[in-house]
Subunit: 165 residues, 2 copies
């Protein structure tokens, strides 16, 4: 469920505990598969499994948490295997990296090319994604004045979510 506010920011609500999460993961998987197929990119079993783990919650997850899960499942896995899968998913825009947490989260708008902007609860860890065109405009304006070519952005807002207050 997405909203748009007066500042022209589109955002998801924080995921409700009641939402049908298994359906939500299924949808994300289907989208991811379709996107990769459309680009001739290989959504391999490994990449799919890593993607599933990232999407398993709406909280950013660490690479080593993913690694641990693989190992607990009896699969002998080393860090590069996980990092390479994450790199692939990042390149395809299927997940985002949260720099302030060294963690990864599924992208809510994988179809459209965009930059992730995140609101993250420090207590429960839940995160939601914004796409604010106003922020984009601000950045573009300042960049223009500075004659700066923007390549990537990191926008992360940390605090306490509604449910945790």
């Amino acid at each position: 469920m997405s909203f748009t506010d007066a500042e022209n920011t589109t955002f998801d609500a924080f995921p409700k505990p009641t939402h049908d999460h298994s359906q939500c993961v299924k949808d994300a998987l289907a989208k991811a598969l379709a996107i990769c197929q459309g680009r001739g990119a290989r959504f391999t079993e490994l990449r799919k499994q890593v993607f599933e783990l990232v999407c398993a919650s709406h909280k950013p997850i660490g690479a080593y948490d993913i690694l641990d899960t693989f190992q607990k499942r009896g699969r002998k896995t080393a860090p590069p295997t996980i990092y390479r899968a994450l790199d692939f998913l990042l390149e395809q825009g299927l997940i985002h990296r949260i720099a302030s947490l060294n963690a990864y989260i599924g992208c809510d708008f994988p179809q459209e090319p965009h930059r992730g902007q995140f609101v993250i609860c420090k207590l429960c860890g839940e995160a939601t994604e914004l796409v604010s065109h106003t922020i984009e405009k601000c950045i573009a304006s300042a960049a223009e004045k500075l004659d700066f070519q923007v390549q990537s952005r990191v926008i992360e807002i940390l605090g306490i979510c509604s449910a945790c207050q």
Copy 2:
């Protein structure tokens, strides 16, 4: 030299190679000292030296680069010493941490409480600080809709600066 654009963003120009950097460092030191004195916070010799190293360039600097410099100067220093000094400077708002680079940079507006927003050149490493009230407004608006209490923000724009294009 600061500017304000149509989007109500205040920003420094990228530091000119011609600027009087030793004066710039002196000013920063004087400001830092005054701020700490005003708060009864101790701007010790160690903290001052770390601050000087962070301010020595307008590029974000890594904790281990600071550590190396201390060690090259013949001072036996371990990581916690540096990290604690950095933590103090962060708390006092005298420096900022650049999450996307795991590095630290002097704050250009230490007097006023604010959140750093950064534009960083991937080639030369030079960085400049923005204070965009429009971005703040955007974030506040989205946060209000989400009933989210903002505690901190990470806003980092990466790309190629004018001089490096």
